[in-house]
Symmetry: C2
Subunit: 342 residues, 2 copies
DNA sequence: TTGTAGGCGTTATCAC
DNA sequence: GTGATAACGCCTACAA
């Protein structure tokens, strides 16, 4: 009726509980013939070690917390789905599972993580959508709760993080456009101050400068919130400029889609490249910079688990003092019609 | 150092462990003054009951399994993100959390659910994307693992499910279009045989019939796989028909987006309504039928937990024999430019 | 090589 | 009203 326990397996195999445990955790210590008998019993009963009991015993839940946010309605589909799947897949490989929770804001997230951690429900947490002055890294560090962050804050980076090279992404977009003959290439991005947005702007600026095109394009740097409407508004402004650009690099697919809408409505000729390669980009035939999100997920799980070894013994070096295993991954440009037709 | 336990609280409050437990689980049994002292100690130490120990003790993990699928690349952003958040939120209200796992296919999913269930890691599972002949409901039923399904299979419905009224959704789209004066309204959907697709086609057909418009539109019923390319191809076919429609109801936003692309490319006048109200719909200014996905999430958690009472004692009636608390929820049409301009 | 004992943190049961 | 005892299933010493 109830799932079998070691006890049941032991009885079935005619050995003691510990022999069963040894077969599972230290097979070399048990005589082959005994092992075979025990393994047969395990198979026959369909025995699986009870994870809850294991967790209690080891004071390790093998669970990783993750806050699932309500989707921002004004923004397009994010790459969130892909990221979550990558995390789950990477976790599986390390015999860890994801535990989803909700929160109202970053402070609330820290509080909920602390509660879950104290309750032994999670060993650590993966942070998504890090902002420049994100309160979560310092908060969790102070609580000594293991975590890994997707993205970097402004100053603090003395904890595991994984990030994509945003500047390299926009730079690749510029390279592509320059190769296709564009000279005046605009940038449409977030307001200055957002770390991700600033890095994407940097990549655009640096790549232009490398080709000696910065002087002709520097004034074509427009910013606004991440929404379709803003993209459309900024696109409009670009088209009405007295020296309009022939191409635009956008900081997000959402902004790019807004620009694209204006372009199509006006029948203008303006190459557009977005960022994130959301499903919408494919739908719009929009060239976009694709984040290697699967690799990010795997790197984050690795970093998190390295940061918080299974059982930090008292003699082991303080994991919080160890050098974090952080990584910067390079995105890839996906070229589609929006930048390749004219 | 380590999180405080009942023991610590008891010591701090000068009572025994059980009194602490009573304060938490049967407050009426403890003298008010003692209770206050214990509660103060709990607050001061920041004590949280260890969920793992609770789970072991109660043989209930208060975890709900959920398979996270890799996103289908050819399809647009799904409503998956919203759904997951709704589930997590609803779970929180019931003191349950979601545990994410991966699987290669439905059979593998059942196997993984069984493993997790035997291991005591989950109490039940929420099924997403049910197809007509889905192997998961019968499989899980046979394993006596509690579950709730988003969607219905062909025959079997003797288990908790929540579904949206797909026919009502397309019918609402038709009503809207008829009100705006359209007479020939086409349908673009999945190949026949898919339960969801068939129901959406039914709604279209029935609504047309109600207005006596079915004869003029019956031939405008095109099917194909759920992709942008297919949508574009079918849209093309519709435009070149000798009696072309003036409006189209699509079974998904993906198909609708494909149609829309052709419409814009050709400058044709054709109203389009999609289904799912994905973020892409907003990006394309595409009217779309929106599923009340938050309500679905809540209903599913309710159904699942009602289906699997906390501790099904041997004397309790077999939960698998109880009447399932299933629900059909009505979607809502979101009108945008794609169907409201002309 | 195999078996015996104890405890991870919680709560239900039963005395006091 | 409060406190001792036992048990959930597992694993890690230690002993045989």
């Amino acid at each position: 009726m109830h799932p079998p326990t070691v006890e049941d397996v032991a009885r079935a195999a005619g050995v003691s509980r510990q022999t069963v445990s040894n077969v599972l955790n230290a097979p070399e210590r048990v005589r082959p013939e005994t092992r075979l008998r025990v393994e047969a019993a395990i198979d026959q009963l369909g025995y699986r070690p009870n994870r809850v009991a294991q967790s209690l015993r080891a004071s390790t839940s093998r669970m990783i917390g993750y806050r699932i946010e309500p989707m921002h309605p004004q923004s397009l589909a994010s790459i969130h789905d892909r990221f979550l799947h990558a995390l789950a897949e990477a976790g599986r490989a390390a015999d860890h599972h994801l535990l989803l929770f909700t929160a109202n804001d970053p402070e609330d997230e820290v509080a909920n993580v602390q509660a879950l951690h104290r309750a032994g429900a999670i060993d650590g947490v993966v942070l998504y959508g890090i902002s420049t002055d994100d309160p979560r890294p310092p908060g969790l560090r102070q609580l000594r709760i293991p975590f890994a962050a997707f993205g970097r804050t402004g100053a603090d980076s003395a904890h595991p993080w994984v990030d994509i090279d945003n500047a390299a992404g926009t730079a690749a977009a510029v390279e592509h456009l320059v190769t296709r003959g564009h000279q005046r290439i605009a940038f449409v991005g977030y307001p200055e101050g957002a770390a991700v947005g600033d890095r994407r702007a940097d990549g655009w600026r640096t790549a232009l400068d490398k080709h000696g095109l910065l002087d002709g394009s520097r004034h074509l740097d427009l910013r606004g919130e991440d929404s379709l409407a803003t993209g459309a508004r900024l696109g409009e402004a670009l088209l009405q400029h007295h020296t309009p650009p022939t191409a635009v690099v956008a900081a997000t697919d959402t902004l790019a889609a807004g620009v694209l809408r204006v372009v199509q409505r006006r029948g203008a000729r303006l190459a557009v490249v977005g960022f994130d390669d959301t499903p919408t980009a494919a739908a719009l035939d929009l060239s976009s910079v694709r984040q290697p999100i699967e690799a990010v997920g795997h790197a984050m799980i690795r970093a998190l688990l390295a940061y918080s070894p299974d059982r930090p013994g008292p003699s082991a070096p303080d994991p919080h003092g160890a050098e974090p295993t952080s990584q910067l991954l390079t995105p890839e440009l996906i070229v589609r019609a929006s930048s390749a037709l004219h």
